[in-house]
Subunit: 103 residues, 2 copies
């Protein structure tokens, strides 16, 4: 099932939130993503970013600042996720409304 391929890439608690953060700001530093994505640890963020890199969704740039900063941006392939993330966000809002309405 091809839908499973998408979910394998986007699965887990953090990936979509990380991609949304990078997607929203176009370029985003590691430290900024750490604050954007509530509750994620430094170690977990490094692991998730590495997986997203392996899947060709983001690219990593080391900036020659003092101290050194590492920046991430979506690849062309990663950008194709933009609409999907928008749809997921919209659906999330509608779903939350639906569920809270009926409680």
């Amino acid at each position: 099932m091809a839908v499973q391929d998408s979910m394998d890439v986007l699965n887990g608690k953090w990936k979509i939130s990380i991609l949304s953060s990078i997607c929203y700001y176009n370029k985003r530093r590691f430290s900024d993503i750490l604050t954007d994505v509530e509750g994620i640890s430094n170690k977990m963020l490094s692991k998730e970013l590495k997986e997203l890199e392996t899947n060709k969704l983001i690219i990593r740039t080391v900036l020659n600042t003092q101290p050194i900063t590492v920046q991430y941006e979506l690849t062309e392939h990663g950008l194709t996720l933009k609409t999907l993330i928008k749809n997921l966000t919209d659906w999330g809002i509608a779903h939350r409304k639906k569920i809270t309405e009926q409680q």
Copy 2:
């Protein structure tokens, strides 16, 4: 993050594949979903279906057959997932092509 609400509902290895199976056939029996979704166990499918029911995405109907059969279909709210599942499927196909191209 609203996008996290969507992922919380759709997360895990099986949910999207189960929803795709029900979505594709409109109405689907438990035994059919079991064969549609490769590798899922009877126990896991029951658990996932219960969660989808709690999230108001599917409804369960017991058919008065011999032996009794249980059938599932998407609720109106669940149907709003149709486009999202289609987008996820399309993206999955494009992603697989991208990754296999570069190996």
